[in-house]
C-alpha cells in the first residue's frame, strides 16, 4: 500500500503587491507530500520555496488554488482554525531560531508543551537533539547550533505531524549544521513526521526521500532518492 497523502496542493498561486509593484511568488504549483517522508525543497533565491512552506504551515494565505492537509482544506479555514492547525499539527524551524530570549532552553520547549495535546516532556525533546546538559541556559548563553537544536526540540515536542524547516542550517557552519540535520533526520525516522526542508545547499538533498526543485514560482522537477545518505556523511 502506498503511503497516505499528507498535503495536496492544487494550482497554488501567490502574488505579493507592495505599492505599484506586484511579484508573483507562486504560479500554479501542484504537489503532494506523503506521510513519513522527508522532502528537501531546492531552488534559487526568489523561486518561491519559502512562500510555499509558509502557506503549507498556515503562516500565509495563497492568492489562488487549494491546499489540503489530509481531508481538511486549509484554504477554506478561518484565522482561528488555522491557528489551531498550527498549534496541533505543525512544527516550525527557522533560519534565525526564533527562540524567546527571556526563557531558558527548557522553558522555550515548555512554551509549546503547555499548549499541546499529547506533548513529550521538554527534557525528552531536548535530549533527543543532544541538549540534555544545557537545558537551563538562556538563548544568549547557547551557540548558534545549540539554539537551532532548541528550536527543533521546541518544534517536535508537541509530536507534530508536520515539521517545516526554512533554511535551518543557513546561519550555521558545516560542522554545526550537520548536528542540526542529524536531529531532523532522527526525528523523521523515529517519529515519522512529514518533514519539508528548504535549503540553498544542494548537498543536503542527499538525506531526503524526495527532492523538489522550484524555479520562478513553479515546480520544475521532482526527484526520488534511491539511496539516502545520513547527515554524518554529508559535507559542504
Amino acid at each position: 500500500m502506498p503511503p497516505a497523502i499528507a498535503f495536496r496542493v492544487e494550482d497554488l498561486s501567490k502574488t505579493y503587491t507592495t505599492g505599484a509593484v506586484s511579484v508573483q511568488a507562486l504560479r500554479g504549483v501542484n504537489l503532494e507530500l506523503f506521510d513519513g517522508e522527508l522532502v528537501v525543497l531546492l531552488g534559487a533565491s526568489g523561486s518561491g520555496k519559502s512562500t510555499l512552506l509558509n502557506i503549507l504551515g498556515a503562516l500565509d494565505s495563497p492568492t489562488g488554488g487549494r491546499v489540503f492537509f489530509r481531508e481538511h482544506e486549509l484554504t477554506r479555514m478561518s484565522e482561528k482554525a488555522l491557528t489551531a492547525f498550527r498549534r496541533e499539527h505543525v512544527g516550525f524551524v527557522f533560519q534565525f531560531y526564533n527562540l524567546v530570549p527571556s526563557l531558558t532552553a527548557r522553558e522555550n520547549v515548555a512554551l509549546v508543551t503547555e499548549i499541546a495535546m499529547h506533548p513529550m516532556r521538554p527534557e525528552e525533546a531536548l535530549e533527543r537533539v543532544g541538549l540534555g546538559g544545557r537545558m537551563d541556559h538562556f538563548p544568549a548563553e547557547l551557540s548558534g547550533g545549540e539554539q537551532q537544536r532548541v528550536a527543533i526540540a521546541r518544534a517536535i515536542a508537541k509530536r507534530p505531524e508536520v515539521l517545516l524547516c526554512d533554511e535551518p542550517t543557513g546561519a550555521l557552519d558545516s560542522k554545526t549544521g550537520v548536528t542540526v540535520l542529524e536531529a531532523l533526520y532522527e526525528v523523521n525516522r523515529d517519529l515519522g513526521t512529514v518533514t519539508a526542508l528548504i535549503t540553498h545547499n544542494a548537498a543536503i538533498r542527499q538525506m531526503a526521500h524526495r527532492v523538489i526543485r522550484l524555479a520562478d514560482g513553479l515546480v520544475v522537477a521532482v526527484e526520488e532518492n534511491t539511496e539516502r545518505i545520513e547527515p554524518a556523511g554529508i559535507e559542504w
Binding site: 503562516l59 530570549p101 527571556s102 503547555e114
Partner: protein
C-alpha cells in the same frame, strides 16, 4: 531644509501617537499652572481694581449707638483718611410668593450724595430718591434670585413694624462680594440679601436718629492698622463698640482671600506631578528610539556628523514634543481659566471681570514644560552622542537574561511560560518597569488627591450639618433677652424643642498677639447644637476656662493650660485673665466656647440668650413661618434645611464637573504612560510575539504576554499610588486650609477604589489599543527580519 531636520519631522509624524500621549500629559501640567495662576491673577486684579474704584474700607467697626459728634474725633485718629458712618440692622422680610421668611441686612445711604466708602455700583435702575422714605436698592444676587426688579414692592419688619418697600435698583458692593448670612455656612441668595435705604427712614426704623452703629474707615498709606483699631475701640467702647477689625476679618474679603490662596496652592501642588511624569516618558521613548536608530546614528557619525549634531537632532525631537504639550496646555489653560473665572463670579459678585491670565503664567509654564522634556531627554541624548560609529552599526547584542528569584517563584507556583516571559521582562529591565509603575502611581495619586477633596468636604458637611448643627431653625434676636424668651419661642406654632444660645464678642490677647472673636456660652444639656472633639465625640465643657479652636490657639501662641486675657466687647466691658482649658480642631469657623455659668459669672449677670435653636414639626411649618415673619424680637432667621440643600446642590453641581476634569487628568497620565510602554514593548518584541503566533498561540494568548505585563505593572503601581495619593492629600489639606475652613485629611475607601479602577481601566484600554497592532503583524515577514 536640512535632510536631518526633514528626518526629524518625519519621525515626529511617524511617532505621532506616542508624542501626542506625552504632549497631553505635559499639557495637563501646563494647563493646571496656567489655569490656577491665571485665574488667581485675574480674580486678584478684578478684586483690587474693584476695591479701589468702589473705595472699599480697610477698617470696620460696629457699635450699639454712637453719637455722630464723635466722628470728627475718629477722623483725627492718626492714620485715618476717610470715615463713613452708617446705620445697619438685620430685618426679617416677607417676600411676595415666598412662604419662608427671608432676612436682610439694611444699610443706610448718606443723606446726601454717594457714600464715601464701600460705594455701591448700580447694575440696574437707580439708587433710592433721598426724598422718598419707602424706596430701597437691593443686592443684585438677592433680587435676581427672588425675581425682584425696579418698581416692585415687598414687605419688611422694621423695628417691629411691617413696612412696604419699593425697589428702585439692583446694586453690588465691595463689602458683599461673597454674601453670606451671619451664622450661616453657605450663600443663600433666595433667603439673604442686602437692602440699601435712605438715611432718615433707616435711622428712624433703628431708633438711631443723630447716631450711627456701623463704621468704615480708609487709612492713609503710612497708617499702622493695629494702632488705629486700638484707638477706635477706645473711642467706641462707651457706645457699645464690639471691636474694630481689618479686612482680614471682613467676611466677604476673608472668603475671597481663602479662595485665592487655594488657587495658589493648586498651582504649586499639581503641575510638578505632570511635569515629572512627562520627563520620564520622554526619556523612555527617546531611549528606545535611539536604540532602534543605532545603525543610522553609526552611519551619520561615519559620514562625519559630530556627536553634538546628533545629540541636537534628538533633543529637537523632544523639544518638538515639548512645544506641542506647552501649546496644548496654554490653549486649554487659557480657555478653562476663563470658564473657571466665570464660575467664580457665580459665588463672588463683581460688577466686571478682568480676565487677564498674564504673560508670566504662560512664560513660566512654557519654560517649565520645555525644561521637563529637555531634562527627560538628556540621558538618552547623551548616550546617542557617545556611541562609537563602528559599534553603533552593529546590531545591539541580544538581551542577556539570568536566573533569579523569579525561577523559584515560578517553580513554586507552577507558572506558565508566557507568565515567565512577563516576569523575566520586568526583572530584566527593572528601571523601565519602575518608570511605568511610577507613572501609573502618579496618575493614581492625582486621582486620589483630587477625589479626596470631595471626601473632606463630605466630612465637613457631615460634621457641620448632621453632627454639630442639628437644629432646623435658628432665630437671631435683635437684643440680648432673658431666658424666658425660650418659653415664648416654645409657643410659636409647631415648635417642639427650644434651646437658647448666647454669644458675645470678645478680644483675646496674649502678649502682643491679639484676636477678635466670639465667645459662645455652652450648656452641656444642649443637644441641638453640639461641640465635637477631634474624634467626633460630644465634648463636655470644663467648668472654668476657655475651649479654643486650634487655629486661634496657634495665632495666640497658647496651649491648653496657658492663659489669655479676654476683653468683653459688651457690658460690663471688662478684661479678665482666663485659663485655656482645652484646644480643639474645628472644621468651620473660629468659635471660642466656655461653660455658660462661668461666662455669666464673669459678666456679672443672669443667664441670657441672643439666639434660639429650634426643632419644628414639619406639618406646622407654614404657620411657624408666618409667625416668625411677624415676630418683632426676631431680626434674623436661618433655615438649616435650606442651607443643607443649598450646600448639597452646590457641591453636587461642582462635583460632576470637577470629577470629570480630574478623571480626565488621571486617565491622560495613565494612557500616556501605558501607551508608550506598550509601544516600546511591541517594537522590541514583535519578533518574539510573532514567533508565539507561529507556534500556534492564539491572538489572545500572545496578547496576554504584552497586556499582562503592563497590567501587572499597573497593579504594582496601586499601593505606591495610594500612598502618594495620601501624601498629596496631606499637602492639599495643609495648603488649602484657611482660617475659615479647615480641610480634614479624610480619604474614603471609595476614593481609593475609584482611583484604582480608573487607572486600571484606562491602562487596560491603552494596552489593548496597542495589542491590536499585533494582529497586523505579518507572521511570514516578521520572522524574516530581525530588528
Amino acid at each position: 531644509m536640512r535632510a536631518l531636520d526633514r528626518k526629524l519631522l518625519r519621525d515626529l509624524r511617524r511617532l505621532w501617537a506616542q508624542c501626542l500621549a506625552i504632549a497631553l500629559v505635559l499639557g495637563c501640567g501646563v494647563m493646571v499652572l496656567v489655569l490656577a495662576t491665571g485665574t488667581e491673577r485675574s480674580l486678584r486684579m478684578t478684586r483690587d481694581a474693584y476695591y479701589d474704584r468702589a473705595h472699599f474700607a480697610e477698617v470696620f467697626a460696629t457699635a450699639t449707638r454712637a453719637p455722630k459728634e464723635i466722628l470728627p474725633e475718629i477722623a483725627r485718629i492718626p492714620g485715618v483718611a476717610q470715615v463713613e458712618a452708617s446705620i445697619s440692622m438685620n430685618v426679617v422680610l416677607d417676600l411676595p410668593g415666598m412662604e419662608k421668611p427671608a432676612q436682610a441686612r439694611v444699610l443706610s445711604l448718606p443723606a446726601a450724595g454717594q457714600p464715601v466708602l464701600n460705594r455701591p455700583t448700580v447694575r440696574l435702575g437707580r439708587l433710592p430718591d433721598p426724598t422718598r422714605i419707602d424706596e430701597v436698592a437691593l443686592s443684585e444676587n438677592f433680587a435676581e434670585a427672588n425675581g425682584l426688579r425696579p418698581g416692585m414692592s415687598f414687605a419688611a419688619i422694621l423695628n417691629g413694624q411691617k413696612r412696604e418697600l419699593t425697589v428702585t435698583g439692583l446694586v453690588l458692593s465691595p463689602e458683599f462680594i461673597y454674601l453670606i448670612a451671619p451664622g450661616s455656612l453657605m450663600p443663600d441668595d433666595r433667603h439673604y440679601g442686602v437692602i440699601w435705604m435712605n438715611h432718615d427712614p433707616a435711622a428712624a426704623a433703628a431708633g438711631l436718629s443723630g447716631a450711627f452703629n456701623d463704621l468704615s474707615l480708609r487709612l492713609t498709606r503710612d497708617a499702622v492698622e493695629p494702632a488705629v483699631i486700638a484707638a477706635l475701640d477706645h473711642l467706641l467702647a462707651p457706645y457699645g463698640g464690639t471691636g474694630a477689625y481689618g479686612r482680614d476679618r471682613q467676611v466677604s474679603d476673608t472668603f475671597l482671600s481663602s479662595e485665592l490662596d487655594q488657587l495658589g496652592a493648586m498651582a504649586l501642588i499639581l503641575p510638578p506631578i505632570f511635569l515629572i511624569v512627562s520627563a520620564f516618558l520622554v526619556n523612555m521613548v527617546l531611549s528606545r528610539l535611539i536604540l532602534l536608530e543605532r545603525p543610522i546614528i553609526g552611519l551619520l557619525k561615519a559620514s562625519g556628523f559630530t556627536g553634538r549634531e546628533i545629540a541636537l537632532h534628538y533633543m529637537k525631537l523632544s523639544i518638538g514634543i515639548g512645544i506641542g504639550g506647552v501649546l496644548l496646555g496654554w490653549v486649554a489653560g487659557w480657555w478653562m481659566g476663563g470658564q473657571m473665572t466665570e464660575l467664580y463670579t457665580r459665588f463672588y459678585r463683581f460688577p466686571y471681570l478682568i480676565y487677564r491670565p498674564g504673560s508670566a503664567s504662560f512664560a513660566v509654564s512654557g519654560l517649565m514644560g520645555l525644561g521637563a522634556v529637555v531634562l527627560g531627554a538628556l540621558r538618552a541624548v547623551r548616550a546617542s552622542a557617545r556611541l562609537k560609529p563602528a559599534i553603533a552599526m552593529l546590531p545591539p547584542s541580544p538581551p542577556l537574561y539570568r536566573r533569579n528569584w523569579v525561577d523559584a517563584l515560578a517553580e513554586r507556583l507552577q507558572l506558565r511560560q508566557t507568565t515567565m516571559m512577563i516576569l523575566r521582562s520586568i526583572t530584566r529591565w527593572p528601571g523601565r518597569a519602575a518608570i511605568t509603575v511610577l507613572g501609573v502611581a502618579a496618575a493614581i495619586s492625582v486621582l486620589v488627591a483630587c477625589f479626596f477633596t470631595f471626601d473632606s468636604i463630605a466630612a465637613v458637611v457631615d460634621e457641620a450639618f448632621t453632627r454639630t448643627n442639628r437644629q432646623q431653625v435658628t432665630l437671631q434676636l435683635g437684643h440680648d433677652a432673658p431666658v424666658t424668651a425660650e418659653q415664648a419661642a416654645a409657643h410659636l406654632p409647631g415648635v417642639t424643642r427650644v434651646e437658647g444660645a448666647f454669644g458675645v464678642p470678645v478680644r483675646l490677647t496674649r502678649g502682643w498677639r491679639s484676636a477678635l472673636t466670639q465667645v459662645e456660652a455652652r450648656d452641656d444639656s444642649n443637644i441641638l447644637v453640639r461641640v465635637l472633639d477631634e474624634e467626633g465625640r460630644v465634648a463636655t465643657m470644663p467648668p472654668e476656662g476657655l475651649v479654643l479652636p486650634e487655629s486661634l490657639a496657634t495665632k495666640l501662641d497658647v496651649a491648653a493650660g496657658g492663659q489669655v486675657t479676654m476683653t468683653l466687647l459688651a457690658p460690663p466691658r471688662e478684661s479678665f485673665d482666663v485659663p485655656v482649658s482645652r484646644v480643639m480642631r474645628q472644621s468651620l469657623g473660629e468659635t471660642v466656647y466656655v461653660a455658660a455659668p462661668a461666662l455669666f459669672r464673669l459678666m456679672r449677670q443672669g443667664p441670657e440668650v441672643n439666639r434660639l435653636n429650634l426643632l419644628v414639626d414639619s406639618r406646622q411649618l407654614p404657620a411657624f413661618y408666618a409667625a416668625v415673619k411677624n415676630a418683632p424680637a426676631v431680626d434674623g432667621v436661618l433655615l438649616w434645611t435650606d442651607i443643607r440643600d443649598q450646600f448639597s446642590a452646590t457641591i453636587n453641581e461642582n462635583l460632576t464637573t470637577s470629577v470629570l476634569v480630574y478623571a480626565v487628568l488621571g486617565i491622560l497620565i495613565t494612557i500616556g504612560v501605558i501607551y508608550n510602554a506598550a509601544r516600546i514593548q511591541l517594537s522590541e518584541r514583535a519578533y518574539e510575539l510573532a514567533s508565539l503566533r507561529v507556534l500556534g498561540f492564539t491572538r489572545g494568548e500572545v496578547g496576554y504576554v504584552l497586556v499582562g505585563e503592563l497590567m501587572l505593572l499597573t497593579l504594582l503601581a496601586i499601593p505606591p499610588g495610594f500612598l502618594g495619593g495620601y501624601g498629596f492629600s496631606a499637602l492639599i489639606s495643609a495648603g488649602f486650609s484657611t482660617d475659615v475652613v479647615r480641610i480634614p485629611l479624610v480619604i474614603a475607601r471609595r476614593t481609593y477604589t475609584i482611583a484604582g479602577l480608573i487607572a486600571f481601566v484606562s491602562a487596560l484600554a491603552a494596552a489593548l489599543l496597542v495589542r491590536r497592532r499585533l494582529d497586523r503583524v505579518n507572521l511570514a515577514t516578521a520572522l524574516k527580519q530581525r530588528e
